[in-house]
């Protein structure tokens, strides 16, 4: 039963992606009927094959539309801002060559795989930090920090508001 | 479905289908696999026989793939756009040689290969190699020639690397593969140059378009380089002893047939594609390489202590005879004296003889190795006491290759000697010298392996292997006793396809 649910949800998501791929193909509406049929079959097959893999470690909570809306808000809001800041930061460091790097360790207290992944990728793309490793058991993050101010910082000191966002979106 | 009309493509598609499906059948059980292989082999052999019969009785057979009707070769506008199969007498002869080798190889492999995962795969590779050789022999399209060239290369190298329990097999396979791939890439580069210059890929169409420009000449050199390598002419023969020595015997016989097919491709390029620009320089090059091949290979065979490698050098030297014969024909192609045709016939007849005799020798060596557990001439001896049939077959093959009179090798070599004597007596003398060397080599091998006191207790050779060898030995005897029939009815049309057949070929493809 659970397997079936996994496969179905994967199939549906994959079908949605297929719709994106094959938009603007039909003479009427947006999608041609044969495209829809072929995409349905394809999504069924892919969902059947890859479904158990995708949901292997849980993550059902990601399906709620509220989280997706929040994700979009996050993407165009704080994330873009942080990225711009990161780039200017890199530019400044390229010009001045002033770095004081180190690898620090902190625990953002995230439990799920998706949450950790989300935070790790956010960290990598935002100012001065680069995820080096994630401890599977404890959830500790090892981060290469380009400007170390404190050898044993807290999560917020390194990456600002992102753990909170990660908890809200992907936990 | 008109079987006679579709026979050329069916002869290629059926073994391909058989090869694709063979591992599937093996999953259901080994008897099913063997049954399927038998079925496919029988069907393909009869189809190739049908094609050859049609070609020998009715002239060149042209088949256009994907057109509305097999003979619709030309698109509106008067040029071929699709892939064309054009089978002439030489192609059919080469196809017959490949079929013979494959059938004998499969019969031999039934008991020769150990029953394990590798046997199914090796049989599959054998089937695909067979299909590739047929595709190479029947095609009339330059790029298609390259594709099947690669099919045969990869299948052959897979077979060479069969013995993974030593490092020698993979080593030989790696070297062979590198050379085959480089040669194939040269051929592909030549095709690219020709395509960029003329916008055509069909052999006949290109033959009409070629004008002898610089690009054409570069292309000719590239094609020659690639194909001479695959043929195994000295100095680029060095993969051949490694590969022949290390492959399992049923693979070696396919490899030998593969060499003949590559030789066919070389002749096709030289005579049909570039026949209009007949250049004696190229002919002399082929003659020189042929002479070099037979001398160097037989000299190298003198000192070998490994039985397989010794026979392998013998096999390489036979390629020299074919190159010599056909090279003499190519040299005098423009003026066409009668001895050119004679040498050409000798060369082509020798292809047939060589496939039979060298195949017989390799199979006998395989039987010796399986029975005695080794191939080193220093350790072997006295096997003739137990392996009477194998010894007899080995002796027959050795005599045939060395050109001892009543056997088939003599007839073809006589024709080659005579043709080359009339071109230049030195060539003939060198060829006879090589023949004498070979006789010494084979007598030494025979004496070392089979004569003398009984030194070890060999296993008995299974009867299916003996049967396969017997078929080849019968061929050797028959071809030796009736050379005139074979030359008149089988070889002469094939030689004519090269000698005067260029215009016929072009007309058959173009329909006018």
């Amino acid at each position: 039963m659970r397997r079936l649910a996994e496969r179905t949800t994967t199939g549906v998501l994959v079908f949605a992606l297929y719709l994106l791929f094959s938009a603007f193909t039909g003479p009427w509406g947006v999608w041609a009927p044969d495209e829809l049929l072929a995409g349905g079959v394809l999504a069924l097959v892919v969902g059947w094959v890859a479904g158990p893999l995708v949901w292997e470690r849980g993550g059902w909570r990601l399906l709620s539309p509220q989280r997706w809306a929040l994700f979009l808000v996050y993407l165009v809001g704080p994330f873009l801002y942080a990225m711009a800041k990161a780039n200017l930061d890199v530019a400044w460091r390229v010009i001045t060559g002033r770095i004081q790097p180190g690898i620090v360790r902190f625990n953002p207290e995230l439990a799920t795989d998706f949450g950790r992944t989300f935070l790790a990728n956010s960290i990598t793309l935002t100012p001065g930090t680069l995820t080096l490793d994630v401890d599977d058991a404890t959830g500790d993050f090892f981060v290469h920090w380009i400007n170390v101010t404190d050898p044993s910082p807290s999560a917020d000191a390194v990456c600002g508001p992102f753990p909170a966002w990660a908890r809200r979106i992907a936990e | 479905m008109n079987l006679a009309l579709h026979a050329p493509i069916l002869a290629i598609a059926v073994p391909l289908l058989g090869g694709f499906a063979l591992p599937l059948w093996a999953k259901f059980g080994r008897p099913l696999r063997d049954l399927w292989l038998l079925l496919v082999s029988a069907a393909t052999a009869s189809l190739v026989g049908l094609v050859a019969f049609q070609v020998y009785t009715g002239g060149i057979q042209v088949y256009t793939l994907g057109a509305a009707w097999p003979t619709d070769t030309l698109a509106p506008g008067g040029f071929p756009i699709r892939i064309v199969l054009a089978v002439d007498a030489l192609g059919a002869l080469v196809g017959l040689i490949a079929t013979l080798a494959a059938l004998v190889g499969f019969a031999y492999a039934a008991r020769y290969l150990a029953e394990e995962e590798g046997k199914t795969l090796a049989l599959t590779l054998g089937t695909l190699l067979w299909a590739g050789m047929l595709g190479m022999a029947f095609t009339g399209d330059l790029f298609n020639l390259f594709v099947f060239f690669e099919v045969t290369s990869i299948a052959a190298c897979g077979l060479i690397g069969y013995r993974t329990w030593t490092s020698r097999g993979p080593e030989a396979a790696f070297k062979t593969m590198v050379l085959y791939t480089v040669g194939g890439l040269f051929v592909l580069l030549a095709i690219a140059l020709l395509y960029g210059e003329y916008g055509a890929l069909n052999l006949a169409h290109l033959a009409r378009l070629l004008r002898g420009s610089t690009v054409d000449r570069v292309t000719l050199a590239l094609l020659l380089g690639g194909l001479l390598m695959k043929v195994g002419a000295v100095p680029v023969h060095m993969w051949a002893p490694d590969a022949y020595g290390e492959a399992p015997a049923q693979g070696v016989i396919l490899l030998v047939a593969n060499t003949q097919v590559s030789l066919y491709a070389l002749f096709r390029i030289l005579f049909t594609l570039y026949g209009g620009l007949a250049d004696p320089g190229i002919g002399w090059l082929v003659v020189a390489m042929g002479t070099l091949t037979l001398l160097v290979a037989s000299l190298m065979a003198v000192v070998q202590m490994d039985l397989g490698r010794l026979i392998a050098f013998g096999a390489v030297s036979q390629i020299g005879y074919m190159l010599l014969g056909v090279g003499v024909g190519l040299t005098v192609l423009a003026s066409r004296p009668a001895y050119g045709l004679l040498a050409l016939q000798g060369g082509i007849f020798h292809m047939l003889n060589d496939a039979l005799a060298i195949g017989l020798l390799f199979l006998a060596v395989g039987a010796v190795e399986k029975a005695a557990g080794g191939r080193n001439l220093g350790a072997l001896g006295g096997l003739g006491h137990d392996l009477k049939w194998t010894a007899a077959f080995f002796f027959l093959g050795a005599l045939a290759l060395a050109g001892i009179p009543p056997l088939n090798g003599f007839a073809s070599k006589l024709m080659i000697y005579q043709g080359s004597f009339l071109l230049s007596p030195i060539l003939s003398a060198l060829a006879i010298l090589a023949s004498i060397l070979l006789l010494a080599v084979f007598v030494r091998a025979f004496q070392g392996a089979f004569l003398g006191p009984r030194m070890l207790q060999p296993e008995p050779v299974p009867s299916s292997m003996l049967l396969a060898m017997g078929a080849l030995a019968l061929g050797v005897l028959v071809l030796g006793l009736f050379p005139d029939l074979v030359v008149r009815h089988v070889v002469a049309p094939a030689a004519d396809a090269l000698w005067t057949g260029r215009e016929v070929y072009l007309r058959a493809v173009f329909g006018r």
Binding site: A38, V46, E56, D113 | -
Partner: protein
């Protein structure tokens, strides 16, 4: 690999499979075709191997080999479809049935239901390539009994 790579791989494997399928399916309309789509889908296998280690692909060798055999057989059989005319004749093109709708000459947005036997051949080659390349990667990974760290 770490949890980050594994999670992203879990997202990307179905995406790669779908995209491979898309490329195969639209081989006669957009760039791509059996081989390209098959290569994309086989990369999903490679991704699986690199992210999850040998244990994830251990059982895939035999199915891939069967898939490849079936693809090859299907391709030859599709060639045999046209044997009433010639081998490889495109019997379905323009016949009005499956994949048989005719195409108006000139630029058009592309319709899936065209191409005759071409889409079917695309699928045959696609399965063959998925099976073959996947089997190659798996064979390389399994050779010598790898140590999965």
């Amino acid at each position: 690999m770490s949890v980050v790579v594994r999670t992203i791989a879990r997202i990307l494997v179905p995406v790669a499979l779908l995209f491979g399928g898309y490329v195969i399916l639209h081989g006669h309309l957009t760039p791509g075709g059996g081989f390209q789509g098959g290569a994309v889908a086989a990369s999903a296998v490679a991704l699986l191997l690199v992210a999850f280690g040998t244990s994830a692909v251990k059982g895939l060798k035999s199915p891939f080999a069967v898939l490849e055999d079936l693809g090859g057989v299907a391709f030859v059989v599709l060639g045999f479809l046209g044997i009433g005319y010639t081998f490889f004749f495109n019997v379905l093109a323009g016949s009005g049935g499956l994949f048989g709708a005719p195409v108006a000459p000139g630029p058009n947005p592309g319709f899936l239901n065209t191409g005759g036997t071409l889409p079917l051949m695309n699928w045959a080659v696609g399965f063959k390539v998925i099976g073959g390349l996947g089997a190659v990667v798996v064979l390389f990974a399994l050779f010598g009994g790898g140590d999965d760290r």
